[in-house]
Every structure is written in C-alpha cells, then in structure tokens.
C-alpha cells in the first residue's frame, strides 16, 4: 500500500477499499488541513471531511492522468469558496477570485508567524486577491507544479503561469506597502524571492 500511487489508492477507495482510503487520507491530510487552517477562522474539520469525500463523489473528474494533488486542491478550493460564500451571506454576491481574505473580515484569516517579519509577509499574502494567494501558496508551500496548479484552479496552464507571475508582482507590492514604515523596513533585509528561495532550499 505504501508504494501504491495516489491514483491507484483512489481507484481502490472508490471500489470500497477502506484501507486505501485511510492511506490516501494519511498522505494528504496535512496539506489540506493547512490549506483551510489559514483561511477559515473556525472549525475546519467539516471542510477537510468534505474535501476527501469529494474525491469519492467524482463530481470533478479525475482521469488518473493529471496529478492527484492538483485534483484534490481543486476540490478543496471549491469547498473553501462555498464556505466563504456561506460565511459572507449578507450583502452583494462577491467574486471570490478578486476579493482578498483580508477584506473578508476577521473571521477569515488565522495566520501564524513566529516573527514579526514573517507576520508581515503573511499579512501581505492575505491582502492578495484570493485567486493569487492560492497560486502563491500552492506553488511555494505545497510545491505544486504550474500544471498541477492549473488543474487545481481549473484553468489552462498558460493562464496559471501568468497568474503566478502576476501574483508574485502583487505580493512584492503589498510587501513594499506594508514595510513603508522605516522601523519595520530595516528589519526586512531580504526580498520575497530570497525568502522563498531559502524556504525551498530547506525542503
């Protein structure tokens, strides 16, 4: 079971093999929990559960050719958007791709940072339009490829690549704005790229 591929496990689980489901869950639980934890303030158990159940329901096709992670994050994204819409309820319909978690209010984000500098970076991230935040997160932290991101977002690969570029640009702008105060700027000697490179080098 340990060396079975994600898609093999999924097929087995869909065929009723509980153990395969457990194995798949154990493999991807942490990424999915992380994905929701920083976007939803309250209980995320339900959302994680719905995401994994989404694999079985097959409302979104997983042909077995693309990446399972891209597929799984695609479901997670839908679950997230539905939840944010439910939380929002009142007021006008909102374009979740365009709105940032920061704008969605205090219930949305629960970021963790050990240091002030990291907090600033994460704050900047949470000011990005959601579609762009997701791209950055999936690329840098979850290490999805551009193709996998395209699958998760349900867009062509070219669009995903453009969005990643744009997202980086926006993040740099947000960082620059957030660090406008001299006192804080002095504490951030590295730009985002350096920081991200360090992060990736570590992993």
């Amino acid at each position: 079971m340990a060396d079975a591929s994600d898609s093999q496990l999924l097929t087995a689980w869909r065929g009723g093999d509980q153990a395969a489901g457990e194995a798949l869950f154990a493999r991807h639980f942490a990424s999915i929990a992380r994905f929701f934890r920083n976007k939803i303030h309250g209980d995320i158990e339900e959302l994680i559960q719905r995401t994994f159940l989404g694999c079985l329901e097959g409302q979104q096709r997983f042909s077995g050719e693309g990446s399972f992670r891209g597929f799984l994050f695609g479901i997670a994204r839908n679950v997230l958007y539905n939840q944010l819409r439910t939380n929002h309820r009142h007021g006008q319909p909102l374009d979740l791709d365009e709105v940032s978690l920061c704008e969605l209010g205090p219930t949305a984000s629960a970021v963790v940072a050990k240091e002030q500098e990291e907090q600033l970076l994460l704050d900047a991230l949470f000011r990005l339009p959601l579609a762009h935040q997701l791209v950055i997160e999936l690329f840098y932290w979850e290490e999805l490829s551009v193709a996998e991101i395209a699958e998760a977002l349900g867009v062509p690969v070219g669009t995903a690549a453009t969005r990643l570029r744009r997202a980086r640009q926006l993040l740099e702008e947000q960082m620059a704005m957030l660090t406008s105060s001299q006192a804080v700027r002095e504490r951030i000697p590295f730009g985002f790229e350096t920081w991200a490179r360090n992060l990736r080098a570590q992993q």
Binding site: A30, R37, G91, A113, E117, M177, L178, R187
Partner: protein, 627 residues
C-alpha cells in the same frame, strides 16, 4: 528575515493539532471511533485558538472533572524554540503569582511527552475585539468593559508584571460579562518593580536582538524603538490605543510614523465620545512616558469619572422633551451604515420605543394597572429596559412613586452593570422623593430610610476598585425650587446631590466642573443655567486633565459658542502628511456602534440614551486563549 528560519507555511499545524484533527476527521470519514488525543493527564477536546507562538486547546481534566485551556508551543517544525519555551514558562510563573478577577487564572505548568504546557482557566466567551463587533455597544458599556481589562492590567503591574502585548485580542470577555486579560506571553518583570517580585528568571532577555515582539499598532513609541524599555507606562499606552479604538471606531494613529511623532488623528466626525473621556485617553497616548498617567489606576479613575458624567447627562434630557419626538427620531436613525446586527437591533429598538409610547399613553390615561399587565408580557431580554422606561415615566408623573418600577428594573437588569446602576440611582431618587414628600406633608422631619437599596447597594462595587462611594446624581424634580433639595439627608454611602435647574434659559455658557477621580456619578451639572448664574470654577485636581467644557447635550437650536480650549488639553494637531506612504492599517471592520449611538443621542433625546438594544444576544462561544 532570518534565513535560517524561513518561516512556517501559512497555516502550519502543530503536531498535536494535526493529530487531533486527523483523529476526528479520519474517524468520521471511515466510520471508526476517533482515538483520544492525550497530553499528560489532559484529554484534548478541540483547538481554541492560536497566537504567534503557541496554540491553545480546550481539554478535559479527568482528575478535577473540569474543562481547562491548555497552552503549548506551536512547533510545526519539530523542536520548539528554547527561547520560546522559556517565554512560555515565564508567562506561567508570572501569572501564577497573580490572582485577580480580570486576569486569566493559571492552574499549573505541565510536562508530558517532552512538551511543556500551561494549564489555565477555560473562559467561555469571546475576545474583546469580537465583543465589540458583536452588536452596537453603548458608550458606558464599552468604557466599563475596557476598564475591567484595565483593572486586570493594573493588578499585573501591582505584581510587578508588564504585559507588553496588550490588545483587544488579548482580552477575553466571558459569558459572565467579566473581562480577563490573557496572553502574558511577552510578560516580564517590571524593571522598576521591587526586587522580590522580579525573581523567577523574568529578567532574562526575551528577544533575540532585532526581533520585534508584540503588536506594533498597539505599541508605545519607546517600545517600538527598544522592546526592552517597555514598562508599565508602555502597557498604559497600549491600553489607551485599545480603548481609543473601542470608543472611536478607529485607531488613534495613522501609522507607525505617527506613533513616534505623537500625531493623533482628529476625532472622527460625529464622534459620541465626550471630550473628558477622550482627553483622559490622549494623556495615556503621550509620546513621553512621563507625561502619561502615573499609573493605570489613575487613568481608570479618570475614565470612570468622565464616563459617569457622560452617561448621566442624556438621562436628564428625557424630562425635558416629551415622547412625541421619538417616532420621528427613530426614522432618522434608520439610515445607518451597513451592519450585520443592524436589522435585529433596529427591530428590538422599534419594539422598545413602541412599548415606551404605549406605557406613556396608559399612564396618561391613569391606567397604571393595565401598564402592569403590559410589562408582565414583555420578554425577559426586554424587561429591564421596559421597566426602566416605565420608572422614568412614573418619575415624571406627579404623585406617583417609581420605586417599585425601579426595583423591577434592577431585577431584570441581570448582568448589565450599567442598567443595574441606573436602577439603583432611580431607587435612590425615589427614596429622596418619598422622604421629601413626607416632609412636606408633615412639617416635622421624618427621616425614614425609605428606599433602602437592594443588594449591596453599591453600584460602584463593580467599577474601579478605587471607588469607595457613589455620588448620586441630582434628584431631578423638574419644578423644584432651586435649593429645595439641598437638605436631603444622605443615603448611606451616597453623597447628596445639588439640585439642577432644568428649565433655565438655554444657550448659556457653562463650564463643566472637573471630574473627580474615583467618582462614578456626575457632579451636578448646570447645563442650562442662566447666563452668569453662579458658575462654579472648575477645580482640576492634581493629576487630572481638566476637561474641555462640553456642550454635547445643548438644546437643539441653542447657539453653541466654541468651547474655550482647556489649558490642559493638548493643542489639536493637524494631520501632517507623512513622507512615508501610509501603513495599510489592519483596520477592523468599522464599528458603527458609537457613531450611531451618537446620532441617536442627538436626535432622539427622549429615548433611553445610551442603551444597547437588548435583543437576544448571540454569544458565539469561540473561547480561545490568546491570539
């Protein structure tokens, strides 16, 4: 940025939290019982919240059969940072020395599976930030709540502990309405504290050089420059930022540059915050720590004094204007800002106003008994306010006693400290009225202690610890001759009031007496006195900022001259343009509560002034320790 520690992934989970979540979700997904997740003898039940370096769980203590909050280091990358571990232990030690109703109680420091954790009182409730956004809050209610938090802070200072990260997220408001200061994670002993209180390793340096701890928006300028310099007055500064934001709906400073420059924003237009209250906070926000209040206690006393003046004034207005203006003014209030609880608040507000009008009609028709039936049908949530309205109506009616109504109002006030106080003051007024009536009938003095106050009769007990007795506001009998009631015998613990002259000519310039520290209720005001009528010179006490004469509640249409600037108040600074682009503030969703309250206070004088709607309040139970 420290390249060796590139930072967590956003949303990284601690091992225990991941274990707990996986057990729960896995159990549900695969229909198997979730294995319990233990930490020492504590069984984890769920995650409450997390701060920068720690995560807090709700847990069951099987030995004592109680729920507790367990705080442990958030270590998504394996081993917890020893520096942070030391900080966690210091917090526990610091808090272990403290026992105060407004400081979260620490039970023990535990150790299990190589993890150190702190076991604390589990507070069911919300953070102060959430409490403020839950629904519109009356000015007095906000002042009372932040003052509670301030008392917790003062207690910590008295024990030689500096919080260093005080903000609304670090104050929990329990379902019991009690505020508790939490997250002394950055606490260290007060550098100026007596030696015996600064033991326990709290003096060790807590920060790696170059690391800012705390939340910049709430930090004092000296703390921003040098985190090691934070003392009790830096906490006072943070407290004032928090209180200012709670009252004005926005932070006092535009950005961090404004903090260092001491550039406070002008008050938002239409602010309901009375000048003395604002002045008290501005003093705590001075750039130079020595210019701030000497202690938190001094600040709290000034807030209490300023607040009691503010809450007592509008009440008097009700006797000036009839109920007829009410409906009109309610319509004017309806155009408020978008606000989730607005509709609910409005509906209950409309109900309350309609009820008030109905009671007024019944009273006018002499159908007091029918009014009793109406009041009996009011829901518990609305009953306190309904009885208060009724009592106020009775007070206006010649020959009626409001005592029974005030007693009901007291009972139904429940946990609402302000309403309780109002009812007690009403009872005291009723007592004075009864006594004087008796005296005017029988010419001999009959000093019956008619209106013994129920309970401990000391509304001040819930307020600043420093308060010893309450001053009861003027018994307002509209047509009393000036001086008539000066001989009213004092109630126990109650200072007898001076009469007011409600029907003097409007438009008169009137200085307001200086608030005395430690006094809850207003000094008799003479807002509508004749020009030149004996105007008492305000005698500012040492350490008390003299208030700018306020004219907040002048009669509509009365000419309001510009108040002379008080010598002690800082000159209003113009908003200077910073060379640096503004720091995008994490401004909380606008809290329309106060501006709305203000509009109401101005436009509908005859309605209960500063009372929140008593609709069934939904209290989300996100207990959560520390963010």
């Amino acid at each position: 940025m420290d390249p060796e520690r590139p930072g967590p992934r956003p949303g990284a989970l601690s091992d225990l939290e991941a274990k707990l979540l996986a057990a729960k979700v896995g159990g549900r997904l695969f229909q198997r019982p979730a294995e319990p997740v233990q930490l020492g003898r504590y069984r984890l039940l769920g995650r409450l919240g997390q701060g920068g370096m720690s995560v807090v769980f709700r847990a069951q203590d099987p030995q004592l059969r109680r729920e507790v909050a367990v705080k442990l280091l958030h270590s998504p990358r394996g081993q917890p940072d020893p520096e942070q571990l030391a900080r966690l232990r210091r917090e526990a030690q610091a808090l272990g020395r403290l026992s105060h109703p407004n400081v979260v109680q620490v039970f023990e420091i535990g150790e299990a599976d190589g993890q150190s954790f702190v076991v604390m009182e589990f507070v069911r409730g919300t953070t102060l930030r959430e409490w403020l956004h839950e629904r519109p809050r009356a000015l007095g209610e906000v002042v009372e709540m932040v003052s509670q938090a301030g008392r917790g802070l003062a207690a910590a200072h008295a024990a030689g502990i500096i919080h260093r990260d005080f903000k609304p997220e670090n104050v929990l408001v329990g379902e019991d309405g009690r505020a508790r200061v939490v997250d002394f994670g950055l606490a260290r002993a007060n550098p100026g504290a007596p030696a015996e209180t600064s033991t326990g390793g709290l003096d060790a340096p807590l920060t790696k050089s170059g690391t800012v701890l705390g939340t910049p928006a709430f930090m004092a300028p000296e703390q921003l420059r040098d985190p090691g310099r934070a003392d009790a007055r830096a906490d006072q500064f943070s407290f004032c930022v928090m209180a200012y934001e709670a009252l004005h709906g926005e932070r006092p400073f535009e950005d961090l540059a404004a903090v260092s420059a001491g550039r406070v924003r002008p008050p938002p237009p239409g602010t309901a915050v009375p000048a003395p209250l604002r002045e008290a906070l501005l003093r705590g926000l001075r750039t130079d720590p020595t210019e701030r209040w000497p202690t938190m206690d001094a600040l709290l006393a000034a807030l209490a004094a300023a607040d009691s003046r503010a809450t007592a004034r509008p009440r008097r207005r009700r006797w000036l204007l009839g109920a007829g203006a009410v409906a009109l003014a309610v319509a004017a209030v309806l155009g408020g800002r978008a606000w989730s609880a607005r509709r609910e608040a409005q509906a209950s507000e409309r109900q309350a106003v309609a009820l008030e009008q109905r009671l007024a009609r019944l009273l006018a028709a002499g159908e007091v008994e029918a009014a009793g039936h109406v009041l009996a049908d009011v829901s518990d949530a609305q009953a306190g306010r309904a009885w208060t309205s009724w009592a106020l109506l009775l007070e206006q009616a010649p020959g009626r006693s409001a005592r029974a109504a005030w007693a009901h109002a007291y009972v139904f006030a429940g946990a609402d400290a302000q309403a309780r106080r109002e009812a007690l003051l009403g009872l005291a007024r009723a007592a004075v009225a009864t006594r004087e009536e008796a005296r005017s009938r029988a010419s001999g003095p009959v000093p019956t202690r008619a209106g013994a106050l129920p309970g401990d009769a000391s509304p001040a007990a819930t307020r600043a610890d420093a308060l010893s007795g309450a001053v009861i506001p003027t018994p307002t009998r509209d047509f009393a001759l000036p001086g008539a009631s000066t001989s009213a015998p004092a109630l126990p613990g109650v200072t007898a009031p001076t009469p007011t002259r409600d029907f003097a000519l409007p438009g008169a310039a009137t200085p307001t007496p200086a608030p005395l520290p430690g006094v809850t209720a207003p000094t008799p005001t003479r807002d509508f006195a004749l020009p030149g009528a004996d105007t008492p010179t305000p005698a500012p006490l040492p350490g008390v900022t003299a208030p700018t004469p306020t004219r907040d509640f002048a009669l509509p249409g009365a000419a309001t001259p510009t108040p002379a600037p008080s010598p002690a108040s800082p000159p209003r600074r113009r908003r200077a343009t910073s060379p640096l682009p503004a720091l995008p503030r994490r401004r909380p969703p606008p809290s329309p509560a106060l501006p709305r309250q203000r509009r109401r206070a101005l436009s509908r004088p005859s309605a209960p002034p500063s009372r929140p709607s008593r609709g069934p309040a939904r209290v989300p139970t996100r207990p959560g320790c520390s963010r």
